[in-house]
């Protein structure tokens, strides 16, 4: 009997922790959409949403309520069950990946030894939601969009995997907490410097994986009318949207963890500043770094024109993969020769 009570107690604790991760995440997604419209708006000399609430701050909530009240259309030619399952297939891995993210030295839900491998596996599942949605809709545009999107996602996944391998070589561990700790010792010890080409490759393939501008041919409004989710309406569409933005935040957070020292303070080891900022909790640094990457996403969207599909494939296969292979070799030699100060 006591055993059962214990089980239930642990379960409730885990659920509380999960909601403590998910609710800020969902809020983050909502305000990322708002930030996107504001930032892109200002970059294009507009002011973005400003009607709902002060500075338009209630806009995301209004959007959610609107989408919730819209009719859910399930096309008559579609495969009904798969059509409904597809959004779930997209959102579940996008959220579950957050289970292993370390937010500060002791704040991590599941501190598993194969953390990075788990993240990689979860991100490789993202393609299912796309494929199933495109196929189940039984519409030409949705199907074309799904095929394009899936082929693009898997192409960039390889470059991303090789970039991960570089991080593993430098850190010697798959555990995300260890990877962060291995970067201790100030801004020059973070992995962005010894792994600079891999950092760039990771970021480019991260943007391409989330199908964001300038790699957003999958939605290509002018050619295939928003791609694989063209048949989705109301809340079902909102879930795809939610997953896309959750993935953006995830990619940014992983970039911060792997290359910018995660929750480590940037002033570590600097005489006066280090002490001055010692009180700042780790999670604040992680958030700050993540926000920088998110801003980069929006900045890129406002700046770059869209790639053509053949150019996307060429960039993925013929430029990013060779670059990673060369840098992995260099890195291997650096480790074998114990190059100081990183691999000493």
């Amino acid at each position: 009997m006591v055993e059962y009570v214990q089980y239930i107690e642990t379960l409730i604790w885990v659920l509380i922790k999960i909601f403590l991760i998910l609710i800020p995440l969902i809020l983050g997604v909502a305000y990322l959409m708002y930030a996107e419209r504001k930032v892109v708006g200002y970059m294009q000399c507009r002011i973005g949403p400003n009607r709902v609430g002060i500075w338009g701050l209630l806009q995301p909530i209004a959007d959610v309520i609107k989408l919730l009240c819209k009719e859910i259309i399930i096309p008559s030619v579609s495969s009904r069950y798969l059509f409904i399952i597809a959004p779930v297939l997209t959102i579940a891995p996008a959220l579950a990946a957050w289970a292993v993210i370390p937010f500060s030295p002791h704040l991590v839900l599941a501190n598993i030894n194969a953390g990075l491998l788990y993240l990689f596996a979860m991100s490789s599942l993202g393609v299912y939601g796309i494929l199933v949605a495109g196929w189940a809709s039984n519409s030409k545009y949705a199907f074309l969009g799904a095929m394009r999107s899936a082929a693009q996602t898997i192409s960039y996944e390889i470059a991303m995997g090789f970039a991960f391998v570089g991080v593993l070589m430098a850190s010697g561990s798959l555990n995300l907490q260890d990877i962060v700790l291995r970067q201790q010792g100030g801004i020059w010890h973070w992995f962005w410097l010894p792994l600079l080409p891999l950092f760039l490759v990771y970021w480019i393939s991260g943007v391409a994986e989330t199908n964001r501008a300038p790699f957003d041919v999958a939605e290509g409004e002018s050619e295939i009318v928003a791609g694989f989710h063209v048949e989705y309406s109301g809340i079902t569409f909102a879930i795809f949207f939610l997953a896309e933005y959750a993935n953006m935040i995830l990619v940014s957070t992983i970039a911060a963890l792997l290359f910018l020292g995660g929750w480590l303070s940037p002033f570590e080891g600097i005489p006066v500043l280090g002490h001055l900022f010692a009180w700042v909790p780790g999670i604040a640094w992680l958030l700050l770094k993540t926000c920088c990457f998110l801003f980069l996403y929006l900045w890129m969207r406002a700046t770059f024109p869209r790639y053509r599909y053949d150019q996307i494939m060429r960039l993925g296969w013929k430029i990013l993969i060779p670059v990673t292979l060369v840098w992995l070799t260099v890195l291997g030699l650096a480790i074998e020769f114990h190059l100081k100060p990183w691999f000493g």
Partner: protein
């Protein structure tokens, strides 16, 4: 312990049920998706055995890559599946039943009391939390079993060559963009200045 058993049973039942659905599913795409579910359940079972690297690689490689190709192919093929199913039911179901019967008999034979010494049932040792079986695997795979690794590499190379030579036919007049040629072009190659 109770939870572990419960999860084991859930995964095992899911695995078997989805495997059955792979065979008897309505449409090939659904069958493929049930196969994905089966791989998931198998990964779950491996995780219960604390083989975390293998379980995650199963998801990464089989679910993330191999099944994606399957779906790509099945989704875009326009084959009359009803017809295929007819011949399948006629020829392959009896064969399958015979095979399954044989397998079950073998399993019973091996696990029966007469051969109890063949499989020594060792209670599973739980590993400490900081044990990484990825490291343990890496420690031997690239040293002791380096030869097997190279053989795997040769197989992968053969697969790359085979896939390309099967899929690529029209090498000559493709209209793709050649960036190096575009960059290397000089004004004098393109413009001829004529004195008037």
């Amino acid at each position: 312990m109770l939870i572990e058993n419960l999860i084991f049973i859930t995964f095992a039942v899911t695995l078997i049920a989805s495997a059955v659905m792979v065979v008897f599913g309505q449409h090939p795409v659904r069958c493929a998706l049930f196969l994905v579910l089966a791989f998931f359940a198998a990964a779950g079972l491996w995780l219960i055995l604390e083989a975390e690297f293998l379980a995650l690689v199963l998801i990464l490689v089989y679910v993330g890559a191999v099944m994606t190709l399957f779906l790509f192919v099945i989704m875009t093929l326009s084959i009359d599946f009803e017809k295929m199913k007819q011949s399948f039911l006629r020829y392959y179901v009896p064969l399958g039943v015979i095979l399954v019967c044989g397998l079950v008999t073998l399993m019973f034979y091996i696990t029966s009391h007469a051969h109890a010494d063949l499989i020594k049932l060792i209670p599973m040792q739980h590993v400490p939390a900081d044990y990484s079986n990825t490291k343990a695997l890496g420690g031997v795979l690239y040293t002791t079993y380096a030869f097997a690794l190279e053989v795997a590499g040769v197989l992968l190379l053969a697969a790359i060559v085979a896939a390309i030579s099967l899929c690529v036919r029209d090498v000559v007049d493709s209209k793709s963009q050649r960036v190096d040629e575009q960059i290397a072009i000089q004004p004098k190659d393109r413009i001829k200045i004529v004195k008037m």
